[in-house]
């Protein structure tokens, strides 16, 4: 094999669905064109930079670099390695990009908006919650998008936002679970778990305390059987695959934003059909809400409902 794709993550992959999906996308792309796919995991900002340099130095054809942690590094390394194409996933830079730097970003707020809508329709207590890893602008796409969806359906419903924090906010299920239990105690009966690696703790809390959750990234209803209503799907694998196709086609400095319209963001309710029926999500048994969500999604795609990007609002 003379072609190689190197997949660089900001954290150990673990069971972080976002990173798992990215890896699947890279592997699918590799399979499609007979390229070898290697993964470099980083555990610190410095390691990310070193991994990017290392990827360039072994002469990778395409480097898939995940998340905003990669932006600085890619902007630094790319000019030194013109023969390597860099795909930034989930983040981009506002500076002038060299031709070999490409971006694939998502509009997470759109599907989070749908989750908010579901939460507002299904809550009985009138209080719903959302848990993010750490209070940073990017994460507000999940939390604020969710809150906007709730408000769109029923402004009377209270939204409580909590952050995992701690030494290891992106993978700390212990703290995430405590936050979920605290939200439960505060009366939230639907909790949107956007806590990255920590979300698992939220599902555990749900199983113990009996509230309903919603997840992000992939269909996790099987992981949290009987407690998960729906999932804000983030098709990272599709985005990676598509972007690599575009890069292979020879386009320079591609930029793609994936939302509901592009099929890059979605929800099980929106998927419908067999996928929904077999998903194991609670919404599969709630045709009414599912229908409403599908129509809300159509309105967003059509531009009739506008979901503001909280990051731009900052």
């Amino acid at each position: 094999q003379d072609k190689s794709i190197i997949y660089v993550t900001p954290n150990p992959i673990g069971n972080n669905p976002f990173l798992v999906l990215g890896q699947e996308g890279a592997e699918a792309a590799g399979e499609a064109r007979g390229a070898e796919v290697i993964t470099y995991e980083s555990d610190a900002p410095q390691a990310m930079l070193e991994n990017l340099y290392a990827a360039a130095s072994v002469g990778a054809d395409i480097v898939v670099a995940m998340s905003f942690s990669a932006v600085d590094g890619v902007m630094e390394v790319a000019p030194t390695a013109p023969d390597t194409q860099f795909l930034l996933v989930d983040a981009c830079t506002d500076q002038e990009r060299p031709d070999n730097v490409h971006c694939a970003v998502f509009r997470e707020h759109e599907s989070s908006f749908l989750m908010g809508a579901i939460a507002a329709m299904t809550t009985e207590t009138g209080t719903v919650g959302v848990i993010g890893p750490i209070d940073i602008p990017f994460m507000h796409r999940f939390t604020d998008g969710f809150a906007a969806g709730v408000a769109h359906v029923d402004p009377e419903v209270t939204v409580e936002t909590r952050w995992v924090g701690g030494q290891n906010p992106f993978s700390d299920p212990v703290r995430a679970k405590e936050q979920a239990l605290a939200l439960d105690a505060a009366g939230a009966d639907v909790i949107y778990a956007a806590a990255a690696g920590g979300s698992f703790g939220v599902y555990e809390a749900a199983a113990e305390s009996g509230f309903v959750t919603m997840g992000v990234d992939t269909n996790l209803c099987g992981v949290a059987p009987g407690t998960m209503y729906d999932v804000a799907l983030k098709r990272v694998d599709q985005a990676v695959l598509q972007s690599i196709e575009a890069i292979e086609a020879g386009e320079a400095a591609t930029f793609a934003s994936y939302g509901l319209a592009e099929g890059g963001m979605s929800a099980m309710a929106v998927e419908g059909g067999d996928a929904l029926a077999e998903s194991g999500c609670l919404i599969a048994d709630d045709a009414e809400v599912a229908a409403e969500i599908r129509s809300l999604a159509e309105q967003i795609v059509a531009g009739e409902v506008v979901v503001d990007d909280p990051m731009m609002a900052n």
Binding site: D43, A44, E50, Y53, D72, D90, I136, M139
Partner: protein, 340 residues
């Protein structure tokens, strides 16, 4: 007793060693090659420069720790001093409207001052309230990282990026790099400081007194040294070097403060390990710091190319420290550092 414990531990150690060896058996040579390449090779010797880059940070911290330990002060708060120094440097680098050189100098001085201040705080807590320096300095690490984390997630965050990080510092103020490499001039600053520490420790009256005080505090008092001043000055120097290292990390490699960039790689603990491995001997410390830097980058390289987990590097480091606990311990208890 000694014998019975040894009987238990020898097979244990053998099993552990065997496991490690087995894991590497099929590819021992490949692993060693990958390790060496990871530490020193790469395109244009990239990995060597990344080892050197890590070395400069480790050396800075090791020197900071060394200054304290030599004086018999168990200051293990280098992490907090580093983090706050780095944060301060970043803030000056981003917000000070001044010519680049002024910005860089101001950032350096501010970082050193803040690092020194944080170290002295632990000292004040010890001398004012009898809280052992070991514990006080350790506990202060936590608020320090939370302060830094708060600063770059709220008031000073880079609102354009998703990450918890400060804005980029003024580009022209950043530390220049050696041409064609990713290594910045920070290594000269820290290397020079290390040299100064090593020389002054041997030749100056101050260094002499600090050393004697470290050997025996009662001796220092009976000899009439200004023990009070020596105590605080040593802490100040130690903290200032850690703060300077934070400045180098921010103005060199990353050019901004990113949450966790100075804590995740366990720089501070590795710095302490380097000092202990050098048995607190100043001139030997750069060597051990370099060794640990190469161990870390080499292990990462090994993981990239032959899939042996990088944690092996950490495990080796830990085992070395454990085995040296006797030798280095004698030095440390000579320094009166027996914890109590």
């Amino acid at each position: 007793m000694n014998a019975s414990l040894r009987v238990l531990l020898v097979p244990l150690a053998l099993v552990a060693a065997g496991l490690l060896a087995l894991l590497a058996f099929d590819a021992t040579r490949a692993a060693v090659a990958a390790f060496l390449d990871g530490a020193f090779g790469g395109r244009n010797n990239f990995n060597l420069y990344s080892t050197l880059g890590r070395f400069s940070i480790l050396l800075g911290l090791a020197m900071s720790v060394l200054v304290s330990f030599r004086a018999g002060l168990l200051n293990i708060g280098a992490e907090g001093q580093l983090v706050l120094g780095g944060l301060t440097a970043a803030l000056v680098g981003v917000y000070l409207p001044a010519p680049p050189l002024v910005v860089a100098l101001a950032a350096l001085l501010a970082a050193m001052a803040v690092g020194a201040g944080w170290a002295v705080l632990a000292g004040l807590i010890e001398r004012g309230a009898n809280v052992p320096l070991l514990i006080g300095s350790l506990l202060l690490n936590y608020p320090a990282s939370y302060i830094a984390s708060y600063a770059v997630s709220h008031p000073f965050r880079d609102v354009n990026s998703g990450a918890t990080q400060s804005f980029r510092i003024m580009g022209e103020a950043s530390l220049p790099r050696f041409t064609g490499t990713i290594l910045d001039y920070g290594i000269l600053l820290i290397g020079g400081t290390a040299l100064l520490v090593i020389l002054l420790e041997r030749t100056s009256v101050f260094g002499y007194r600090v050393r004697m005080q470290g050997y025996s505090y009662p001796f220092a008092r009976a000899s009439g040294y200004p023990t009070h001043k020596l105590y605080y000055r040593t802490l100040m120097i130690s903290g200032a070097i850690a703060g300077m290292t934070g400045f180098v990390a921010v103005f060199g490699m990353n050019q901004r403060y990113i949450d966790g960039m100075l804590t995740a790689p366990l720089y501070a603990w590795t710095g302490i390990a380097a000092v202990l491995m050098a048995a607190i001997i100043p001139w030997a410390t750069p060597l051990t710091a370099f060794f640990f830097a190469a161990l870390a980058t080499g292990a990462i390289g090994m993981e990239r190319s032959v899939g042996i987990p990088r944690e092996v590097g950490q495990i080796i480091q830990a085992v070395i420290v454990l085995y040296l606990s006797g030798v280095a311990g004698k030095m440390l208890s000579n320094l009166g550092g027996k914890g109590r």
